[in-house]
Amino acid sequence: MTQQENLRERLKRLIIESLNLEGMTPEMIEDEAPLFGEGLGLDSVDALELVVALEKEFSCRIEGEETTREAFASVSAMASFVDSLNGSTLSQA
């Protein structure tokens, strides 16, 4: 598994665990599928939960509506967002 694949797998597990999506496995979430509305069908309460989970997991702060919308569009977008955080933060996480 590449580093990117590892990160995506980790994010999928984070989504499932933090939202308590019973019966769901990482394989069932597509990298490019929208997380909200269509696709996984999450709502704004889930978004709040995901922001908190991601901030905790990667010791970062997620500010601004635009950033949040972009960062949580899909698993791929989440991975790009995490990549854009500085390296030292990531290596600690």
Binding site: L19, V45, D46, E49, V52
Partner: protein, 402 residues
């Protein structure tokens, strides 16, 4: 304008649906048992009328409802059932939601706090806080059915559900809405469970309304939702009205924080106001759906008010108290009991009051026990009452359409 009930939906200790409610009430059995939603050890009672797990079909429906509290889910499922029964597909700009309740997502908030302090398993997920507001169940219904008219929450303790129906009745009459989804929803939570236990208002066994040895109420949970619209509209769209919601009245004892007025002054005023609203009098009442909590005070005060309303007829007017079977569903009680009255009217029978002890003969009422009692075909008018903490009283007059 005649306002009619064209749909009913219910979630109760007997299960998910009006049919389950009806079968349960007809049987004379109680749905009060040991609850599983939280630990009840050490309380004065360890019983409640908990809503059990749904069947597979209902569970599928519920699985699609994300991030809702238990009370929200009860309200949504009952509203969907009421809409289907009414033959309506959904809401719209002229549909309003009027929903009573007393604790909304309190049970989920308790869970959240319990997880934070480590006395409940699991992570303190934010969604547990999402529906703590009292307007939660009504809002959830509006979103679910797409009701874009007024959406209003009512919280007047145990009279909430009846008051929501009263407001809906007025909104249909005034033309504010064409269709009203009205009722109430509440779920069991530690706040009310421990509160009523601490007040010693609960019977250690299943509650026994209007019985000699009654010791208090039993709590319950669930929802009742009704579709209201004008008779003209119902007829025009080919719907079959189940009953007429003929009158509503409310009052306050202004007397005590929890105890009712001993002679039932406020209860009498609410019932008289509801009858006046319906253009009827005490003599017209054929059956009573009583508040009947099973506390010494309520049942005494309520029967006193009924004697004052019905006069010499009091010992002959059949009376049922659904709380023996459903427990006290607090903010949903008036709504669930209104649904019970509608289905009883349809069957032309009064359901029995669950419980095994003999009726309290000092109360001079005709308490229906053990089996449903068939009413003569001429009988058509029920009064359904709710008398709450704070002295808030509400009464509804429901009539069979002839």
């Amino acid at each position: 304008m005649k306002v009619v009930i064209t749909g009913v939906g219910a979630v109760s200790g007997f299960g998910w649906g009006v049919e389950e409610l009806c079968r349960g009430l007809e049987s004379g059995a109680t749905s009060i048992r040991t609850p599983s939603v939280f630990d009840v050890e050490g309380q004065r009672t360890t019983l409640a009328a908990e809503v059990g797990p749904p069947d597979a079909d209902a569970q599928m429906e519920i699985d699609h409802l994300r991030n809702l509290s238990r009370a929200d889910i009860f309200a949504v499922i009952a509203a969907r059932e009421a809409l289907v029964r009414a033959g309506l597909e959904g809401g719209g700009p002229r549909t309003g939601v009027f929903c009573g309740g007393s604790t909304a997502g309190m049970a989920e908030c308790e869970d959240f706090v319990g997880r934070i302090v480590g006395v409940r398993p699991g992570k303190p997920m934010l969604k547990l806080l999402a529906s703590q507001q009292l307007n939660g169940p009504g809002d959830a219904v509006a979103r679910d059915i797409g009701a874009c008219g007024p959406v209003v929450g009512f919280s007047s303790a145990c009279a909430s559900g009846a008051m929501a129906l009263g407001a809906a009745l007025q909104a249909v009459r005034s033309g504010e809405v064409d269709v009203a989804l009205a009722g109430g929803a509440d779920s069991l939570c530690l706040l009310t469970y421990s509160g009523f236990n601490a007040l010693r208002s609960v019977d250690p066994g299943a509650c026994q309304p209007f019985r000699k040895d009654r010791q208090g109420l039993s709590l319950g949970e669930g929802a009742g939702m009704l579709v209201l619209e004008s008779l003209d509209q119902a007829v025009a769209r080919g719907a079959e009205p189940l009953a007429e919601l003929a009158g509503y009245g409310a009052s306050c004892d202004a007397h005590h924080m929890t105890a009712p007025h001993p002679e039932g002054d406020g209860a009498l005023a609410a019932m008289q106001a509801a009858l006046k609203d319906a253009g009827l009098e005490g003599i017209d009442i054929d059956a009573v759906n009583a508040h009947g909590t099973g506390t010494a005070h309520n049942d005494q005060s309520e029967s006193c008010a009924l004697r004052r309303l019905l006069g010499d007829r009091s010992p002959e007017v059949p009376l049922t108290a659904p709380k023996g079977a459903l427990g006290h569903v607090l903010g949903a009680a008036g709504a669930l009991e209104a649904v019970a009255s509608v289905v009883a009217l349809e069957r032309g029978a009064v359901f029995p009051t669950a419980g095994s002890a003999p009726a309290d003969s000092d109360l001079h009422i005709d308490l229906v026990l053990e089996n449903p009692r068939q009413l003569p075909p001429t009988s058509q008018t029920w009064i359904s009452t709710n008398f709450a903490f704070g002295g808030a009283n509400a009464a509804l007059v429901v009539r069979r359409l002839v």
